[in-house]
Structure formats: C-alpha cells, structure tokens
C-alpha cells in the first residue's frame, strides 16, 4: 500500500476544447483532474487493473473562463463544475433558495476535503466498495471489467445495495450531492450535451456516469424551486464528519412538487418514486400517517443482501426525517 505513483504527465489546458481534445487523443488513458481528492488516491493505492490507469492528467483548473462559479441567472442557479464543495455550502443564495444542495455539499467528506473537492468530482466519483477499493487490485471484480465476479455478493455486504445489482455490481454510489441534484431537478451540462441529473449516473467498468472519456462536466443548472416549496438533505453515517453515507437523501416538497431521492442504497442514486406518489397531492403540512406511508413505500422494492437488511430500516428512517423536515 502506498507505493510510488506510476509515472504520469500533467497538462494544463486553457480551454475546454483543448482539454477535450487531449482526453480524446488518449482514448481513456488520460483522466481529468479537478480537486484531485479521489483521482490521486486511486492512482496511489491502485485498486484498479494496470491497464486502466492514466498516463496523463488533464488539469481542469487552468481552463479559462474558470469553471468555478455560483451565479443565479434569473430563475436558474448556475454552478460551475469546479466549484468547491465548501464554497457551495457557504454560498448565501444556495443556502437560502436551494437548501438541499448547500446542506449536501456541507456534509460531504470533511472540512479539508471540501476546500479542495469540487461538485463535478463529487458527482462523478468512483465507488467505495471495499472489495473494489482494496489496493493492488486484490479483488479483480466485475466493476473493474476484470472478471464476472462480484466479491461483495458472497462476502461482507453490510454497506452494499439494498435494491439489487446493476450489471452484476452491488456497490453503491456514495455521492452526497447527487440526491440533492435529483430532488432539485437539476441539469448537468457537459461539453457535449445536457442531461437531467438522474440520467447522469450509470454503472460502468469502472465509471459511475454515462460520460465518455473525453466528456467533461462544465456546469450544473438548478431551476428555482416552486413557490412555497422547501428542500432538505439528510445523511446517515456513523460519524458526524468524514464518513461516506450509509444512506443519504434529499427531498423537495411543496404545493406543486414532490421529489424524493436516496443515495448509497443502490448502484446509482435512487429516486423514491413510490414515496413521491404517496406525498403528491396531499395537503400540506403532511400528517404523520402519510409520512410513515411514504417511508414504507420508499423501501417497498428493497432486495436486501445477506448482511444489509438493516439498511432498509435506515433508508426508511431517512425518508421519514426528510419529509418531516420539509413537509410538516
């Protein structure tokens, strides 16, 4: 563990086009780097098979105009992909009008990491399954494209997916910002296209998004939530700081809005549509019975593994907590 890095080069493009062109040229052997809080770790501890590591890191921080900004443009919040999580959490406009996003950004990782880590990086991070992450590719698993085996399915899966596998992988997506973006109905802008937030994520080997290797997230756009609605984020973890979520979630509820999203329960962020159906159209504030029914509905499709049935109870409690915060 902690062997020296494999040799690599860093390039500092000044435009998005230049960055994309380098990424394209290296056909996957060049990775973008923003805050670098996970990229460098993956390169140092080498959980992946040898053929997946980058020869070149493309530094996105030198791109001009800078991809680091938080602006409200009329009825849309525009957040540059390189905005630090700490800045997002501190931003007055985000805290006031897009509360779930500020809360999520402020609860990710630790204070030090939030000063370096970016929103773009947070939503595109690689899984944290302990089999996937064990250094030196100790477990060459399906998610790495190295075999057909998921070691968690017959191993210690206490933190893994409670809604089954995606493409044979049971690892969960642990982004804290992700459920907030879904609840707030955000759009992800890349140098190629524009996506609904919930369409960003996928389970690929090893990526957790649908992005091509020469595709960069440039901006996240969040529409102003409808009048009279409230949003919140909640994270359940063992400790008050640093931990990845065991279950997290975000909700936006109002007279004309009911959106509930969970994460760390499935291979990609999970929109709790059944919970939304229970809440939708009900008069506000919600009564306890409705909140309980929505919480039950959110986990009704759960498919627990051998060691993670407890996560169903936690997920249910998170939904309850969220709806209580925004709708009672």
């Amino acid at each position: 563990m902690g062997r020296p890095f494999r040799p690599f080069e860093v390039v500092n493009p000044t435009t998005i086009e230049e960055a994309a062109s380098i990424l394209s040229e290296y056909r996957g052997r060049a990775w973008p780097i923003a805050g670098g809080t996970d990229v460098l770790r993956v390169m140092r501890f080498r959980p992946l098979p040898d053929n997946l590591y980058p020869e070149v890191l493309v530094n996105l921080k030198t791109i001009r105009p800078s991809l680091e900004y938080v602006e409200e443009d009329g009825n849309v919040l525009r957040v540059g992909a390189l905005t630090r999580l700490a800045d997002l959490a501190r931003s007055d406009v985000v805290r006031e009008r897009y509360a779930a996003l500020a809360e999520a950004a402020g609860r990710a990782a630790s204070p030090q990491i939030r000063e370096m880590g970016t929103i773009g990086g947070n939503i595109s991070q690689l899984p944290r399954c302990w089999y996937f992450r064990k250094p030196d590719n100790r477990f060459p698993c399906k998610r790495k494209g190295a075999s057909d085996t998921c070691f968690a399915s017959s191993g210690d899966n206490r933190y893994h997916s409670i809604f089954g596998d995606i493409n044979g992988c049971y690892a969960v997506n642990v982004s804290d910002v992700a459920p907030a973006l879904i609840a707030l109905d955000a759009r992800i802008m890349t140098n190629r296209r524009s996506l609904r937030a919930e369409d960003l994520w996928d389970v690929r080997a090893p990526s957790s998004t649908v992005l091509d290797y020469d595709e960069i997230i440039t901006e996240i756009r969040v529409p102003r939530p409808p009048e009279g609605s409230r949003s919140a984020f909640h994270k359940f973890a063992l400790r008050s700081s640093i931990d990845f979520p065991i279950v997290n979630g975000a909700a936006l509820v109002g007279p004309n809005a009911a959106r509930v999203a969970l994460n760390a329960v499935y291979g990609k962020p999970y929109r709790a549509v059944k919970a939304e159906d229970v809440v939708s159209g009900k008069p506000l504030p919600l009564d306890v019975a409705t909140v309980e029914a929505a919480a039950d509905a959110a986990v009704s499709d759960a498919k627990p593994m051998e060691h993670n049935k407890w996560k169903i109870s936690v997920a249910r409690a998170v939904v309850k907590q969220l709806l209580t915060a925004v709708a009672t």
Binding site: R239, S240, S313, V314, A317
Partner: protein, 156 residues
C-alpha cells in the same frame, strides 16, 4: 507479605453513562458520561484527567465503532484505512465529567493507586449495559454498530 513495589496499584472506579438509542436506525448516541476514579493520590492532575477523558472516549470508540472487518471468504482485511475504521471525530464528542478521588489507599508512594487503562476498559463494558437499559436487549456483538443494534431489535 509481598513488597509494596511488587503489588499492582489497582484503583477503584465507578462510571455512569447515559445513552440514547434510535430504534429505527440503531444509532447509539452517548449523551453524558461521569467517570469517577479513586487514584489514591493525584500526582500529576493533567495526566490523570488525560487518562480519564481519553479513556472514556477510547472506551466508547471501541464499544460503538471500532472493528477490523475481514472478508469471510479470503480473510483479507477490508477496512484498511481510517475512513472505514471508526474512531470518533471531535464533532462526535459529548460531555464527560471526570472526577479523581484521593483516598490515599493505594499501595504506591504517597498512597497512590494510579489510573491507566481503567477508564477505557470500564467504559467499554459500561456501554453495553447502558444500551441494554435503553432497549431491554443485550447487543452481544462488538462493536455495537447500528446494524447489530437493529438485528437485536428484530428490525431487519
């Protein structure tokens, strides 16, 4: 009779803990701990307090979070970083009242009994009783993480 130098200077102690258990998530939250140690004689107050406070935090850390996880199939250690080995952060602490009592009844010089690992050892055991008192069931496995508490509550 054994020479006083050869006799281990055990101290006497008593501790009290208040915990809150969330039956839906299994989370055990420590609300307050009172740690009383008869140290015989306090020679260095800072050190004594350090052992008491530090011991309580360590004991609770062991009771509620610390465990090394091994893959059941290969025996490979799965949580080999502090990101997954749960030592509480400063944001997780709770009030601790540490009281050092001097009875002079220790076998050491000046009647000192000492205080070493006592608080840590006691607190860890104490937490199990506190959780039992809260939920009426023993969480026998260690540490008492939410998954184990929920299993005992039958909420899995």
């Amino acid at each position: 009779p054994p020479s006083p130098v050869e006799v281990h200077p055990w101290g006497r102690q008593a501790a009290f803990a208040e915990v809150e258990v969330d039956p839906e998530t299994g989370r055990v939250e420590v609300k307050k701990v009172v740690m009383v140690n008869d140290v015989g004689r306090v020679i260095n107050p800072g050190s004594v307090a350090g052992q008491q406070y530090g011991g309580v935090y360590m004991g609770i850390s062991r009771a509620l979070g610390e465990e090394i996880v091994y893959d059941p199939e290969t025996g490979v250690k799965l949580n080999d970083s502090l990101a997954w080995y749960y030592v509480p952060t400063i944001a997780d602490v709770y009030p601790v009242h540490a009281i050092a009592v001097e009875t002079g009844l220790g076998y050491g010089a000046y009647g000192l009994a000492g205080v070493g690992e006592d608080p840590a050892a006691l607190t860890r055991a104490l937490l199990r009783s506190a959780v039992y008192n809260a939920i009426g069931k023993w969480v026998d496995e260690d540490p008492m993480t939410p998954d184990r508490v929920l299993r005992v509550l039958g909420r899995t």
